[in-house]
C-alpha cells in the first residue's frame, strides 16, 4: 500500500466568521484509526461534516480532502465513499432490519436471493442471525449499534467516520461495541476517523490523537 492510499486531510481548515474551528493535516492509512478529541463545541463534528460533504453553507472550508488519491472535497455526499456513524444508530424506523441493510447494499449486488444472502451473512457475522424481519425499534441498544455498523459497512465505504458512536451506550456495552467496530473497520482495511471526548475511546483506537486544531494530544 502506497502512502497516498487512505484518507488524507491536506491542510483542511474550517472557519465560521472570524473563528477558526478546524485546522488538520492528517493521513490515515487503510485499517488505521485516527482520533480527533475535544470538548463539545470544539469543532470535532464540523470536521466530520466537511469530510462527508454536509457542511452548512455558513462555514468556510479551505484545503483538500483526498480519499485513495482522489480529491473528494467538492463531490456530493453520496459519491464520496465515506461512511458515517452517529451517536444514535439512526436506523430507518419504517424499514425492517433487513430492509435497513438492503438500503445500503450497492446496486452491483443483483438478484433478490443474492442480496438476501449478503444480508443474512452480514447479520450472522455479527451474532444477529434471524433478525432480518424484525422491527428495528424492538432491538436492544447493542443490537441496534451493530446493525447500524453493518449497514454502514455494507455500502462498501473507503473511509469510516465515527461521530461519538459509543457515547450513548452503557459502560459494559461500550467496550464491547467499540471493539466490534474497530475490528470490523480494520478487517475491511478502511481508514477510520473517530471523533470523541472520551480518553478511553481514543486509547482503544490505537492511532494518532489530535485536537480539531491539529495539536497532538498526549493520552
Amino acid at each position: 500500500m502506497t502512502l497516498d492510499q487512505g484518507l488524507i486531510l491536506d491542510g483542511l481548515t474550517i472557519t465560521l466568521g472570524d473563528r477558526r474551528l478546524v485546522a488538520l493535516s492528517l493521513a490515515i492509512r487503510g485499517g488505521e484509526v485516527a482520533t480527533i478529541m475535544g470538548a463539545s463545541g470544539s469543532g470535532k463534528s464540523t470536521a466530520l461534516a466537511a469530510i462527508t460533504g454536509t457542511l452548512p453553507p455558513e462555514f468556510r472550508r479551505t484545503g483538500r480532502i483526498l480519499l485513495n488519491s482522489k480529491d473528494i472535497s467538492d463531490r456530493p455526499t453520496r459519491l464520496r465513499g465515506v461512511g458515517l456513524m452517529f451517536q444514535d444508530p439512526v436506523l430507518f424506523p419504517h424499514l425492517s432490519v433487513g430492509g435497513n441493510l438492503a438500503f445500503a447494499l450497492p446496486a452491483h449486488v443483483t438478484g433478490r436471493s443474492a442480496r438476501r444472502l449478503r444480508i443474512d451473512a452480514a447479520l450472522a457475522s455479527a451474532g444477529l442471525e434471524g433478525l432480518a424481519d424484525r422491527d428495528p425499534a424492538t432491538l436492544s441498544g447493542g443490537q441496534k449499534a451493530r446493525v447500524a455498523l453493518l449497514r454502514t459497512l455494507l455500502a462498501e465505504p473507503k473511509a469510516l467516520l465515527l461521530d461519538e458512536p459509543f457515547s450513548r451506550l452503557d459502560a459494559d456495552l461500550r467496550a464491547q461495541i467499540r471493539r466490534f467496530t474497530f475490528d470490523r473497520a480494520k478487517a475491511a482495511g478502511i481508514s477510520t476517523l473517530l471523533v470523541t471526548h472520551d480518553v478511553e475511546d481514543a486509547r482503544a483506537a490505537g492511532g494518532p490523537v489530535l485536537s480539531p486544531l491539529g495539536e497532538t494530544l498526549p493520552l
Partner: protein, 548 residues
C-alpha cells in the same frame, strides 16, 4: 416557494380582482351608480362588518380563554378531542345543523314544547335569519373557534409555553394572568394571519349567510351572489361594484383590527407593569371557558345529529321531539342524485387534493434540498387565498372564464378548488415535513443514496401519516367549498355543498339532511382513513406509531 406554485396561488386572485374591477368601473361607472342607488346598501354593509368583527372577536376571545384556563391540564385534552373533529365539518353543514336546531320549528323548540312553552305550532319568531345577524354570528363563532384553537395549539410548543407558565405561577400569578402576560404576545404573533383569515371569511361568507343570515337585506356578499345569479346579466356590473366594495371593507376591517391590536398591546404592557396576579378570576374564567367549549361542541353536535335524524325521519310533526318512524325512504328516493353528486364531489376533491399534495411536497422538498428558509412574505402569500375575500375575485374570474368557455366544467372547478386547498395542505404538511430528522438523510447519503431515492424511499414513506392527514384536510376543504363551485361551475357542476345550500331555502328538511349528512360523512371518512391507515401500515413498526 418556487415561482410556479406562487404563480398558481396568486395569478387567479390577481386576474379575478382585475376581472372584478373592470366591469365595476367600466361603462361610465354605471355599476357603482346602481350599487349606490340600492336602498339596502347601508344595512348590508353594516351587517357584513358587524357579523365579521363580532364573530371574530368572540371566536378569538373564547379560544384564548380556553387556552388560558386549560392549556396543559387534563381537561384540555378532553376539550381538544371534542373540538378537533368539528374542524372537518363544512361551513354549510354546520350552518344547516344550527338552523335545524334553533329555528322556531327546530329541535330545541320541539324539546321544550308544548310542556314548557305551550306552543302547538311553531311560533312566529324570526330566530333564524334574524335581522341583526345574531344566528349568523353564532354559526361563525362555532365554526371558527375550533380552527383558531388548533392553530394556537400548533404554536404553543414553539414558544416554550409550559415553562413560561410555571415560571409565572412560581411568581404568584394566576393562570389567566400568567397566560396573558407571558404567552399572549408571542402566541398572537403566530395567530395573526389565521385571525385575519377568520375575519375576512366572517365578513364575506356566502353559504353561511344564505342559510343563517338576514334576508331583507342580506349581507353584502350574499346580495352580490344573488345579483351574479340573476338570469338577465344586467346586474353583473352592480355585482362587480359590490365585490370591489366588499374588498375595500375587508381591507378596512383588517386595518381596524390591526389598530386594535396595537392598542391592546399597549394596554397589556401598561397593566403588566403593575403586575396584577389576578388569581381570583381563574375559577370564573375556567367556568366560562368550559361553558363556551361545551356550548359550541354541543350546539354543533346536536345540530348535526338533528340533520342526520331528519334524513331518516318519516312523519315528524311539531311539537314532537322525535319522528314517528325511522325510514330510509328519503335515501332510497334521492339515491341516484345523491350518488351522482357525491361522485362529482369526490372527483373534484381528489383531483384538487392530489395536485395540492404534489405541489406542496415539491415546494417543501425544493426548500429542503436548496437549504431555503421560509420567509414571512412567503407565509403571507400562502395565506393570500384565505385573506382575499372569495366574493371579491370569484365574480371577476367567472366573467373572465365565461368568454373563454372555461367555466362550468369539473376540471375548472377542480382548478379553482386547488387555489383554496393548497394553502391548507401546505400548512398541514409543512410542520412535520420540516421537523423530519435530517440525520436520516445524511445517513442515507453516506450510504450512497441519491436525493430522489432518499425522498421516495425514506422521507415520503416516513411521512405517510402527515401526508394522509394533509390529504384529509385538503378533501375536507374542497368538499366544503361553496362559492368557487357555484361561480366557476356556473351552476352546472353540482357538489354536495352547492346542493345543500340550494335546498336550504326550500322546505325539504329530509333531503337537506341527507345532503348534509354526506357532506359530513366524506370528510369524516377521509380523516378516519388518515388515522387508521398508518396504524395498519406500521403495525409492526413501533417507532412509526409514536411508541418508544
Amino acid at each position: 416557494m418556487p415561482p410556479l406554485t406562487l404563480g398558481l396561488m396568486t395569478l387567479p386572485i390577481a386576474a379575478g380582482l382585475a376581472g372584478t374591477a373592470l366591469p365595476a368601473f367600466g361603462n361610465g361607472g354605471a355599476g357603482i351608480e346602481k350599487l349606490l342607488a340600492w336602498p339596502g346598501l347601508p344595512k348590508s354593509v353594516a351587517l357584513s362588518i358587524g357579523t365579521g368583527l363580532v364573530s371574530t372577536l368572540l371566536a378569538l376571545a373564547l379560544t384564548l380563554l380556553i387556552l388560558a384556563a386549560f392549556a396543559g391540564t387534563p381537561a384540555f385534552a378532553r376539550i381538544r378531542r371534542g373540538l378537533a373533529p368539528l374542524l372537518s365539518v363544512p361551513h354549510a353543514a354546520a350552518a344547516l345543523g344550527l338552523a335545524f336546531l334553533i329555528a322556531p320549528s327546530g329541535w330545541i323548540a320541539r324539546l321544550l314544547s308544548p310542556e314548557l312553552t305551550g306552543w302547538q305550532v311553531p311560533p312566529d319568531l324570526l330566530i333564524l335569519n334574524d335581522p341583526l345577524g345574531l344566528s349568523l354570528t353564532l354559526g361563525l363563532v362555532a365554526k371558527e373557534l375550533p380552527f383558531l384553537l388548533l392553530m394556537a395549539l400548533a404554536a404553543l410548543p414553539q414558544i416554550d409555553a409550559d415553562r413560561r407558565l410555571t415560571t409565572a405561577a412560581t411568581l404568584g400569578y394566576g393562570r389567566i394572568a400568567a397566560f396573558t402576560f407571558t404567552l399572549l404576545p408571542d402566541l398572537y404573533r403566530q395567530l395573526r394571519l389565521p385571525t385575519y383569515a377568520v375575519l375576512a371569511y366572517g365578513m364575506t361568507t356566502v353559504d353561511m349567510a344564505l342559510i343563517l343570515g338576514p334576508t331583507l337585506p342580506p349581507t353584502l356578499s350574499a346580495q352580490i351572489t344573488l345579483w351574479m345569479g340573476e338570469a338577465n346579466l344586467t346586474m353583473r356590473d352592480t355585482a362587480a361594484a359590490g365585490a370591489v366594495l366588499q374588498l375595500v371593507l375587508a381591507v378596512l376591517a383588517i386595518s381596524l383590527w390591526r389598530v386594535m391590536e396595537i392598542f391592546t398591546k399597549r394596554a397589556l404592557i401598561a397593566i403588566a407593569f403593575t403586575a396584577p396576579r389576578l388569581a381570583l378570576i381563574d375559577r370564573p374564567a375556567a367556568f366560562i371557558a368550559r361553558l363556551a367549549a361545551l356550548l359550541i361542541t354541543g350546539t354543533l353536535a346536536f345540530g348535526l345529529a338533528g340533520l342526520s335524524l331528519w334524513s331518516v325521519a318519516g312523519l315528524w310533526q311539531f311539537p314532537d321531539a322525535w319522528p314517528e318512524e325511522i325510514t330510509l325512504r328519503t335515501w332510497a328516493t334521492a339515491g341516484p342524485s345523491l350518488r351522482e353528486t357525491s361522485a362529482t364531489t369526490l372527483i373534484i376533491a381528489t383531483g384538487a387534493t392530489l395536485a395540492a399534495l404534489a405541489l406542496a411536497l415539491a415546494c417543501l422538498q425544493a426548500e429542503a434540498s436548496l437549504h431555503l428558509t421560509p420567509t414571512k412574505r412567503a407565509l403571507v402569500l400562502l395565506y393570500l387565498p384565505l385573506l382575499v375575500p372569495q366574493i371579491a375575485f370569484l365574480p371577476g374570474l367567472q366573467m373572465l372564464a365565461l368568454p373563454l368557455g372555461l367555466d362550468g366544467t369539473v376540471a375548472a372547478v377542480m382548478a379553482i378548488h386547488l387555489v383554496f386547498v393548497l394553502p391548507y395542505v401546505f400548512l398541514s404538511l409543512s410542520g412535520p415535513f420540516r421537523a423530519w430528522d435530517g440525520r436520516i438523510a445524511t445517513a442515507a447519503a453516506t450510504l450512497g443514496a441519491s436525493e430522489a431515492r432518499i425522498f421516495w424511499r425514506l422521507r415520503l414513506p416516513m411521512l405517510t401519516g402527515p401526508v394522509l392527514t394533509a390529504a384529509a384536510v385538503g378533501m375536507a376543504v374542497s368538499i366544503g367549498q361553496y362559492l368557487p363551485t357555484l361561480m366557476i361551475g356556473g351552476g352546472r357542476v353540482e357538489t354536495l355543498t352547492t346542493e345543500a345550500v340550494a335546498l336550504s331555502s326550500g322546505g325539504n328538511r329530509r333531503l337537506i339532511g341527507a345532503y348534509a349528512v354526506l357532506q359530513l360523512l366524506l370528510p369524516a371518512l377521509a380523516f378516519s382513513a388518515a388515522l387508521a391507515l398508518p396504524l395498519w401500515l406500521w403495525r409492526d413498526r413501533r417507532l412509526m406509531r409514536g411508541l418508544g
